[in-house]
Symmetry: C2
Subunit: 197 residues, 2 copies
DNA sequence: ATCGTTCTAGAATAATTATTCTAGACGGAT
DNA sequence: ATCCGTCTAGAATAATTATTCTAGAACGAT
């Protein structure tokens, strides 16, 4: 037996597959090591605890997801940012199940490990920053009402539209993009119409 | 000590409170009996298992929620059906957390108890029937596209709009109803516009 | 008053999991 | 050739939970 029979990413990937199939609760040290045919010692050699593993998995996934939205906002494409959700889901079914079907806190059993606190806080900040950027881009300012609409158009509504398909583990059909487009236009138009009243 | 020191509903209510506060996972026989100061024997005297208790809780809650939507549809009020979600949430914060923040299967650990299978199947049928009724009411027919839009307007979108407020356990503000109204009108109008093209 | 059913009461049991611990293998540096 | 740090290996430990079991109390019917 040589040195590296397994890699850190192997454990993360196994956890991802299990979480996507049977939910975060089914991710146990036992189910991971069984799937990988690795001894539990090898697991604990790399990760301090189950919470650290699952926390890292969630973080790595959410950061990847957010990047696409950031890119669309950088390009000044508000609608593209809203449509990023169905697009990303199509290319990352497992990751999407993880991210969009569960809460952050369904993963860690105890609180968040202190080693990940900063990462989580940074993630939250980046997300709120994204809403604010979107609000300024599309509405011209980022007050309470604008931020609320941004969150609806960028997160709540697209995730809702995609959810049932994730539950069936199937890629969202084109009608989903259509619904997002319709809603996007309506909320943006309504905003500007109400401003000029 | 007399006969009925506790009622069945006491256990269900305790479970509801715990689930709303700390999630369905925190609902253990221990946490229930501790909150109620009841012995575990009294619990098992009434419920065959934890899964039966939580299954019944979910079922009783979802049926109550659905009634309001059915009533609106009976009255021919499609928009009212869509707005039922925020309205109901305001009057039933705990129940709403239970229903809208988690999946059905987050409650039962094993499969659904056979005693509840029929109830769950009936619930699903009623829900799908509701979508079909809505589709016929608002779109005039209930084909694939119409059903998809019905589900979006009646379930996915309103639930999405309400979710962040539930996470903070606060009643959804008026802007939520406004967003639902805007989206409702846009999706309905788009449908009829696309038909006449 | 006695009996049986319905409950209360909580200790005992079992199963599942995370985590820790002890042993030993490999391969490069000395 | 020996030694050491990095890993593999999996048994042992501990904690948490659901569930079962045994005892006994209260009330209504007889």
């Amino acid at each position: 037996m040589a040195r590296p029979k397994f890699a850190d990413a192997d454990f993360l990937d196994a956890a991802l597959a299990i979480a996507a199939e049977r939910g975060p609760l089914a991710v146990t040290i036992g189910s991971i090591t069984e799937r990988l045919k690795a001894p539990v010692g090898s697991f604990y050699h790399r990760f301090a605890s189950r919470d650290v593993l699952l926390g890292e998995l969630w973080l790595r996934t959410v950061l990847e997801f957010q990047q696409g939205i950031s890119a669309a906002l950088d390009a000044g494409d508000g609608l593209g940012a809203a449509l990023h959700t169905p697009a990303w889901v199509r290319g990352h079914l497992d990751e999407a199940c993880l991210l969009l079907l569960y809460h952050r806190d369904d993963f860690v059993q105890g609180g968040w490990p202190s080693s990940l606190r900063d990462g989580v806080a940074a993630q939250t900040a980046r997300m709120e920053g994204g809403f604010a950027r979107f609000a300024r881009l599309v509405f011209g300012r980022s007050g309470r009402d604008e931020l609320r609409r941004a969150q609806f158009l960028l997160a709540e509504m697209p995730v809702g539209a995609v959810r049932q398909h994730l539950l069936r583990r199937e890629p969202p059909p084109p009608i989903v993009d259509e619904l997002i487009r319709i809603t996007y236009r309506a909320v943006v138009d309504d905003y500007h119409a109400s401003r000029s009243r």
